[in-house]
């Protein structure tokens, strides 16, 4: 973890219910505590274009609430009080970048899984988009795959 957090006053972490995203929350909370920065959490519900953007999606909303509750709990265990936001959007990457811009965050911290869908590592659509388009710093947290051999 970096020892210096100069310039980081506000951090955004997208939470998608994956262990990787919760680990990112833990890192972000620890960073926020040390840097005395604000922490924001967001869960994006991707809405297919076949239905209106503001369509009521009860199942997804409940799932999203549960993801955020767990993320808030993790942040709280690191001494940071935070409330997450649920957002409906067509593409999660756009929503995360837009939220970051709107909140004026200095860093977006992403937890990514170790994806090798076709035998090659893939970053994933959301990290790819955020890395390319976010005006803020982007931190990627990738832990080893659960079945990775220990050295």
């Amino acid at each position: 973890m970096p020892q210096s957090f100069s310039g980081v006053h506000s951090i955004l972490v997208p939470v998608d219910g994956s262990e990787a995203s919760y680990r990112a929350v833990a890192v972000a909370a620890e960073t926020a505590k040390r840097a005395k920065a604000h922490l924001h959490l967001i869960h994006v519900i991707e809405v297919p274009r076949s239905i209106p953007l503001d369509a009521p999606l009860e199942g997804e909303l409940q799932r999203g609430e549960a993801y955020l509750e767990r993320a808030e709990q993790i942040a709280s265990e690191h001494g940071v009080s935070v409330e997450g936001d649920l957002v409906q959007a067509r593409q999660a990457g756009h929503a995360v970048v837009d939220e970051g811009v709107e909140r004026g965050v200095d860093a977006i911290i992403l937890g990514i899984d170790y994806h090798r869908p076709f035998g090659r590592f893939e970053l994933g659509r959301l990290p790819q988009y955020v890395l390319e388009h976010s005006p803020a710093q982007v931190w990627l947290i990738r832990y080893p795959a659960p079945d990775a051999p220990r050295r």
Binding site: P48, R49, S50, I51, P52, L53, A89, R90, Q91, H94, D98, H133
Partner: protein, 227 residues
Amino acid sequence: MYIIVVGGGNVGYGLALELQQLPDYEVTIVELSGSRASALRDELGEMVVHGDGSEIAFLEGVGARRAELLIAVTADDGANLVTAQVARHWFKIPRVITRVNDPRNEALFRKLGVDSIVSASDAVMAQIEATMPEHTLVPLMALESAGLRVVSMRVQAGSTAEGKALRDLTLPTGVLITIVITPDGALAPDGSTVLRHGDEIIAVIPREADETLRAMVTGAHPDDGRS
């Protein structure tokens, strides 16, 4: 209102810029070229989708079943025609507007039931005719499904219509004169309305009435020009 614009060229891009500023409008732009779609997305955000707007499965995915308007404005008439047909007959989208790039394809589009056609050459011609209105009939809007057009004409000195009340004119069948614009303002005419030199007439007319009406109002010989 949900609108799908197929074609992210200059026309589609311009439309998107206008439409996204209107409240209560949701717009999706479909662009076939990946690089163009990416460039548009950088500017317009998630309203831009990369894909083939003439494919049923793709249109289904971008919500064609709930669209109230589809506008096909690619540079490819064939693609526009297929998109319009799919939109109209498969997805039953209530309103479909199609761009025709090559004027020779207009008749085909009409024959295949495309109800609203925008022809770049017609639009330019209308602008040209509006600037030299002596003997012209300026098409303002096509109502293709009814075989009608909304046109504008200016009453010329010495024409059959000048100085006559509407009831005294033998208008071609199906012609409906809806507005007369005089130096005092616009009025909804009735049979007693007398047409004066310089008055502008807005009328709904069947296509076949063009020449007769133009001759009556502007004094032009039926073979003088086009409309």
